[in-house]
């Protein structure tokens, strides 16, 4: 946790420094607002970094006003599952890039349900088909959203 907080402070400092350096090359009007935000960000992130390094650990009374992740799962399981879901998300985006949305939707639903959720072949196929039908009716027929063709279709000239 402490190491992570340290890294996040360093990240914020790097972001602030980068924006200050970049803003120096812009016109005054364009640079003024980013600079007036980056400088205090740099100061606050540095203070927080020093607090993390030299200060006492945070008490429960200083809780942030945001959700907490569940803590009742073993750390190695957490790591494995985070990497797993992250891989699925990246795979989804990669499929959309390669095949386009209309083809990815049923394929992704089928693959996830079959191989991640261990649902039977038949149920996975039915769920994928229903999802595709809903997607087609709602987004393509009713709302007329134009989905980009996938890279493969473009390459094949389809």
């Amino acid at each position: 946790m402490r190491k992570g907080s340290l890294l996040f402070c360093v990240f914020l400092i790097a972001v602030a420094l980068c924006s200050i350096i970049l803003a120096r090359g812009w016109a005054f009007k364009a640079a003024l607002f980013p600079l007036s935000v980056s400088v205090p960000l740099l100061v606050l992130a540095t203070i927080q970094l020093l607090v993390v390094i030299f200060g006492k650990p945070e008490t429960s009374g200083s809780a942030e006003m945001d959700v907490d992740f569940s803590t009742d799962v073993a750390p190695d399981v957490v790591r494995r599952r985070v990497l797993g879901i992250f891989a699925w998300i990246v795979a989804f985006i990669a499929l959309v890039y390669l095949l386009g949305f209309p083809s990815t939707v049923p394929l992704f639903i089928f693959l996830y349900l079959k191989f991640q959720s261990a649902v039977s072949w038949l149920s996975s196929v039915i769920a994928a088909a229903i999802t595709w039908a809903c997607f087609h009716m709602l987004f393509q027929s009713l709302v007329h959203i134009q989905f980009e063709a996938g890279a493969i279709q473009t390459w094949l000239g389809m």
Binding site: M1, F33, S38, L41, E58, M65, I93, Y97
Partner: protein
């Protein structure tokens, strides 16, 4: 005037206008549930259909659709932690933790009933304010709007934890949000900022992919990590009782709902501020209403007041936004700008005529806002039991569908694959923020308000130099700003003194 008020009701209740309102409401219901497809985009898509309608029918159709989208947007926010609309993001902060705690029914009941109260208060405000709002809108120029945006950003003090460290983190996150909002072409000089050589970034980052990533991705990852349903392994709540409890919560905290509705109306009246600001100001106000630090720490962990405040403000701002649109033809938001096109299609010129010649139509809008929300909330309350059961479905079964909602939603913002990358990047940033205890609401507030603040600051400086600082309303708003920043500290000090006295 009373005759026009009653005639307005009869206009809406004519079978054709009423049927069209129901059609609009059904569309708005779906649009509200789906992340990304905003009410404004749907208004634009439906505009061609109003050519053959009478003005009363057209406004019943368009307003019925638009007002309902804000109400149902809260449903996905509570159930899956995915904001159904950009203006429903604040509901996620406490609504989703309630669902995780097995209180989805209560959270939904509270969100819908507060939305209804907000919509009704917004409609009443619209009815009452039209004759008297002119001086208010005309006295708010860019300096006053800039100060109002600063008051909005000062809510960071309430959206961060109570300790000094939490305040530092909160302000740092707010500044990061402001910095992210500067990505893209600068409106004043035309320079490109942080565009990384990508044309996609020239227009800046769109709200939808960023907000959906910030709130949805960490929740999806957490759901996958837990390996349970959203509500965990808790025994299912008595859903009907939970929904009823949420409805009762609205009346238990009636004054909070009322105050947040007034915030929504006020922010809605002022052009440029928008629902994104109203919800967070209302949320911050709900946090400020906590009596002590222990109560305050419950926010973000599933306090029902964190659902009631934004729920009410989201809907009341619809009435507020209509006031300048109808009275002066000055749209309060993007959606209202599209509605303004509807006025022109109907051959109606917004302005004084709406208060004299077309007063009946103006009141028909008030009735549409009220009736559409009453019907939607009553229908939703009937099916909430079934909706809330989704939180007890095994996580691995609903994750692919939530992912689909999230990414289709972000894609609809600009129709580019890059939108998906933005969602992923901000989702990961948000995951790291939650993991290491950096609060997300200040970041979102900074991101939403950044462009508004910068734009109004430059207009004020160009128009008045530094003289705008001496405007009476600016000075008054400066005092309010100081009070908003100081209030949490004064509250803490008072509590410390009270504890010292009792010890």
């Amino acid at each position: 005037m009373f005759d026009a008020f009653i005639d307005g009701l009869f206009l809406v209740l004519q079978w054709k206008a009423f049927s069209l309102m129901l059609v609009g409401m059904s569309l708005g219901f779906c649009v509200g549930l789906l992340p990304g497809i905003g009410g404004a985009a749907t208004l634009a898509l439906m505009l061609p259909f109003v050519f053959k309608m009478s003005p009363a029918e057209a406004f019943a159709f368009l307003l019925g659709m638009h007002s309902v989208a804000a109400t149902t947007g809260d449903i996905t926010s509570v159930l899956f932690g995915v904001p159904g609309e950009a203006i429903s993001a604040a509901t996620v902060v406490d609504g989703y933790p309630m669902a995780k705690r097995g209180e989805a029914g209560r959270a939904l009941g509270a969100a819908l009933m507060s939305s209804l109260m907000g919509a009704l208060i917004g409609a009443v405000a619209l009815a009452l304010a039209i004759p008297i709002v002119r001086p208010l809108v005309l006295t708010f120029g860019s300096p006053e709007l800039f100060m109002l945006s600063l008051i909005g950003i000062s809510c960071i003090t309430s959206l961060s934890g109570s300790s000094t460290r939490a305040q530092i983190k909160g302000f740092a996150m707010g500044l990061l949000g402001l910095l992210v909002s500067t990505v893209g072409q600068d409106r004043q000089s035309g320079s490109l900022r942080f565009d990384m050589g990508l044309m996609y970034l020239w227009d800046g980052l769109d709200f939808v992919p960023v907000l959906v990533g910030i709130f949805a991705i960490p929740e999806i990852i957490d759901l996958a990590v837990r390996g349970t349903s959203i509500a965990g392994d808790r025994p299912p709540e008595n859903l009907s009782r939970g929904v009823l409890e949420g409805v009762k919560d609205t009346f238990r905290h009636f004054w909070l709902v009322f105050r947040c509705s007034v915030i929504g109306v006020f922010v809605g009246i002022l052009p440029g501020a928008g629902g994104g600001v109203a919800q967070w100001m209302a949320y911050a106000h709900a946090v400020q209403s906590a009596k002590n630090s222990k109560e305050r720490e419950g926010f973000g962990k599933g306090d029902v007041r964190g659902v009631l405040g934004p729920g009410a403000a989201n809907n009341s701002k619809e009435g507020g936004e209509l006031i300048p649109t109808v009275a002066f033809g000055v749209p309060g938001s993007g959606a209202m700008a599209i509605l303004l096109s509807g006025f022109l299609i109907m051959g109606i010129m917004p302005g004084p005529d709406m208060l004299t010649k077309h007063l009946t139509i103006t009141f028909s809008m008030v009735w549409t806002l009220a009736i559409a929300n009453v019907i939607t909330v009553l229908l939703c309350l009937l099916v909430l039991d079934q909706l809330a059961k989704l939180t007890y479905v095994r996580g691995s079964l609903i994750i692919p569908f939530i992912l689909l909602l999230v990414f289709v939603g972000s894609y609809t913002a600009n129709g580019q694959i890059a939108d998906l990358m933005v969602t992923l990047i901000f989702g990961l940033l948000s995951y790291v923020m939650v993991l290491f205890g950096w609060p997300r609401p200040p970041f979102v507030l900074g991101f939403v308000l950044g462009k508004v603040i910068e734009t109004y600051l430059f207009i004020s400086m160009n128009r008045y130099g530094f003289a705008w600082l001496a405007h009476p309303i600016v000075m008054l708003l400066t005092a309010v700003l100081v009070a908003v920043i100081a209030y949490p500290y004064v509250q803490q000090r008072r509590q410390r003194l009270a504890r010292g006295a009792s010890a």
